[in-house]
């Protein structure tokens, strides 16, 4: 095994009080902020660009460049909004990070705000994780009390307020402009771009929207230097990231590693497949919106370029692993149900398209319909991809087109038999216990 794990953000999650400020300070906490406050904001932006840090929320856009897009200060407010609306199916890295070590995020918010000239930052957390909200509220309270937030932070003259805001259940609010509308007290629907948030974001003011893990990575980068960060990862996908393994693996969980690690290596670390006699069938490299991979793709380096070259996307590094007991049509049907449910209704291709996709997939899973339905699915996908208002519509097509590409025969098998060929019980976590009991 060539690649080793690099616990950085996950380093002290096993501390009994990992979420407190005291624990964080024992692990270099807020030393990055102290260093930052002695630097020029533009040097901080440059350092982030030099580090090569790319957005950890899925799209992989260079974080420092995003900061650099803000127009020059005009005397009015500028905002940092942290996207903590983690809800892409399979993605489960930001929630445990904020549960176990929320101060990483708070310090990152303080440094980033200083770098971009923001005096009021927001963390938009999805509303369905109330204990994480408690931890964030507490972390902000502790940071205020210690003088890391508030007026004249550490005597620097820099002021920063942080508001932690809870959403109310809507996948679309993870789309950055929908998130801004939601934060403004509206229905969470995406905005036309341009103008991009950097120009007209929250309250039509210049705004940076960054993912939790991106911002949490800033303090260690600042403390140890851009070089330290670029030493990890690949040439174009630098640094580390949290890889989330779930599904039919022996030890699902969070594995923090340099970008470019392979699933084969990760699976090895995670103890292999749950049942060694059951082969890996398909997996998502970065959530349900990224085209499926199969066991052919085990050795693809999980970095932005290699995954894209193989026809998918690194996304959020949400590695959902399914073994051969799983019906791919059922999996895709359920994801499609999700996109239909979560479509915000703003644009026609997504609103109508996801509904029709669900109708067709629903009947295919039950062995009804005919082979032409596969072409119809692909045709509907073609009418959504690139024609919907935001990336949610595009994402809805990924599992469908990729599953037809790799598993057309399995769709046909459903039609041949007139029902799903799989026993749904076999793929469950508790199947074995029940059989032996």
């Amino acid at each position: 095994m060539s690649t080793q794990l690099t616990p950085i953000l996950t380093d002290f999650w096993d501390d009994p009080q990992s979420w407190t400020l005291a624990t964080y300070e024992k692990h270099e906490g807020y030393q990055g902020l102290k260093k930052a406050l002695g630097m020029k904001p533009e040097d901080l932006v440059q350092m982030t660009k030099d580090s090569g840090l790319r957005g950890r929320g899925g799209a992989g856009f260079p974080t420092g460049m995003k900061w650099g897009f803000l127009p020059p200060p005009d005397g009015g407010p500028r905002y940092l909004v942290v996207n903590a609306d983690e809800s892409e199916p399979g993605t489960c890295k930001d929630i445990p990070l904020m549960m176990a070590a929320p101060q990483f995020l708070i310090e990152g918010v303080a440094i980033t705000s200083f770098a971009i000239g923001c005096n009021h930052a927001f963390i938009y957390l999805r509303g369905e994780v109330v204990h994480v909200y408690r931890r964030l509220l507490r972390a902000v309270e502790e940071a205020y009390a210690a003088g890391y937030l508030g007026k004249n932070i550490l005597g620097s003259g820099f002021d920063l307020d942080v508001t932690v805001h809870a959403g109310a259940g809507a996948y679309i609010c993870g789309e950055e402009t929908a998130l801004l509308d939601s934060l403004e007290g509206r229905r969470g629907q995406p905005r036309l771009k341009p103008p991009f948030p950097a120009v007209a974001g929250l309250y039509a003011r210049p705004t940076v929207v960054n993912n939790v893990e991106s911002i949490a990575s800033v303090p260690p980068i600042l403390l140890h230097g851009a070089d330290w960060f670029t030493e990890m990862g690949t040439e174009k996908s630098q640094g580390f990231g949290i890889f989330s393994l779930s599904g039919h693996v022996k030890n699902p969980g969070q594995y923090e590693a340099p970008l470019g690690i392979t699933l084969r290596e990760l699976l090895d670390m995670a103890g292999g497949m749950r049942d060694p006699n059951k082969k890996l069938k398909f997996w998502t490299p970065g959530g349900s919106s990224t085209p499926l991979f199969t066991d052919e793709h085990l050795d693809i380096p999980l970095d932005f370029e290699s995954v894209a070259a193989a026809g998918s996307m690194l996304g959020t590094r949400a590695l959902q692993i399914f073994d051969e007991t799983t019906c791919v049509v059922r999996a895709v049907d359920r994801w499609t149900d999700f996109y239909k449910h979560e479509s915000c209704g703003k644009c026609t291709p997504c609103r109508e398209g996801t509904w029709w996709l669900k109708q067709i997939l629903g009947r295919l899973e039950h062995g009804q319909g005919d082979e032409e339905d596969l072409e119809k699915l692909l045709d509907v996908c073609d009418n959504i991809l690139g024609r919907s208002f935001c990336a949610l519509g595009d994402g809805a097509t990924s599992p469908i087109t990729s599953s037809i590409q790799y598993f057309r025969d399995e769709y046909l098998k459903h039609l041949e038999l007139g029902h799903c060929p799989f026993d749904v019980r076999e793929s469950t976590l508790f199947h074995k216990d029940r059989v032996t009991a």
């Binding site: 080793q4 794990l5 616990p7 999650w13 009080q17 260093k35 440059q46 030099d50 580090s51 090569g52 899925g58 799209a59 127009p71 020059p72 809800s87 892409e88 199916p89 399979g90 993605t91 489960c92 929630i95 445990p96 509303g127 369905e128 109330v130 204990h131 931890r135 507490r138 309270e141 805001h165 809870a166 959403g167 109310a168 809507a170 993870g174 789309e175 950055e176 998130l179 509308d181 403004e184 007290g185 036309l192 771009k193 309250y203 210049p206 929207v209 993912n211 230097g225 070089d227 030890n251 699902p252 969980g253 969070q254 990224t290 959020t316 999996a331 991809l385 469950t428 976590l429 508790f430």
Partner: protein, 323 residues
């Protein structure tokens, strides 16, 4: 609540709303709500941003979004009731009919469903005799199918009032709902020492900390899986070149990525030049600007050849630019 048509739509699309939903708040309730609202509104530069927390606050008093709650939000934020209703009906956590004391949500998104969520939902549904978004006759438990709740490494997952119950089985979830109905204290896998009521949790979601943050674990076993492997092998993150070498770091980094930098600088300059002129867009009354028609709109601005000028709005969505 069960049995009547409350919250149901007629064929014509009219929502059945009970008269009680419109009954005015008592003076005491109103005083409490108004005091809380003042605190919530003070958190935001524009008061409309307080709408989501205020709707959570309404649920903390009424147990769902009532007619009177909508009137009250509209009044507090200078909005029409239609604007408030439009928001309240968009988000799934806002309940349109009285909710049980505990919402039990079984994740039936793909991964959890396959790992057993479907079977859990079916068995619990049969056990309780209720379906999705229905409440037991004793008003204790509302059963829901929920979407991915960001705990896939603990699949199948069940949420009780938005606290995590990890690695569930049909048996464990049936025991959970039985305990909740019997009024027993129930402890989540990762969360406070006991599950709070729907109304209590709604108040936290409005941003009022209940002081329970220090209860429960920092991380569950799956969250620590990678860290344990690293400990076993003695793996750590690389050490920084020198303990304190700000200058050296910066300089070497500067030299190293000068190619990238010049490209960045060009893009920056372009973006800056474009934005400078229009950043001075006319000011709107607080809480009143229409975000879709922001003054800074520039029809000629286009994404770059790389696909995106900025992030393609896909933060958290696992999407690159459009194909």
């Amino acid at each position: 609540m069960a049995g009547d048509n409350f919250g149901m739509q007629t064929a014509a699309g009219h929502l059945t709303v009970a008269a009680e939903s419109k009954e005015p708040y008592t003076a005491e309730q109103l005083a409490g709500l108004d005091a809380d609202a003042a605190q919530v509104i003070a958190r935001y530069p524009q008061k409309r941003s307080a709408l989501l927390p205020l709707l959570h606050l309404v649920q903390s008093v009424d147990g769902y979004v009532t007619g009177r709650g909508i009137d009250w939000c509209a009044d507090k934020l200078d909005l029409s009731t239609a604007e408030v209703s439009g928001v309240a009906t968009f988000y799934t956590q806002y309940k349109r009919h009285p909710n049980g004391e505990y919402t039990v949500g079984v994740c039936t998104n793909t991964l959890c469903a396959i790992m057993g969520g479907d079977q859990i939902f079916d068995e619990v549904s049969e056990h309780l005799g209720i379906g999705h978004d229905e409440t037991t006759p004793d008003g204790k438990v509302t059963l829901e199918r929920i979407e991915c709740n960001a705990a896939c490494d603990y699949a199948p997952v069940v949420m009780a009032n938005w606290e995590f119950f990890d690695n569930q089985t049909p048996e464990s979830t049936k025991a959970l709902v039985d305990d909740l109905r019997a009024g027993k204290d129930v402890k989540p896998s990762r969360g406070p020492n006991k599950v709070c009521t729907f109304k209590q949790v709604s108040r936290v979601l409005a941003g009022f900390n209940d002081g329970l943050a220090d209860e429960g674990v920092g991380a569950g076993p799956a969250s620590l899986a990678g860290l344990e492997v690293a400990h076993e092998h003695g793996w750590t993150a690389p050490k920084a070149p020198k303990a304190d070498s700000t200058k050296a770091d910066d300089e070497s980094a500067d030299n190293k990525s000068s190619d990238n930098k010049s490209a960045d600088a060009k893009t920056d300059a372009k973006a800056d030049a474009k934005t400078e002129a229009k950043a001075t867009g006319d000011a709107k009354a607080p809480g009143r600007h229409t975000s879709g028609n922001a003054a800074a709109n520039d029809p000629d601005e286009k994404p770059t050849a790389q696909g995106t000028l900025f992030d393609d709005g896909a933060e958290g969505k696992g999407k690159e630019g459009k194909a």
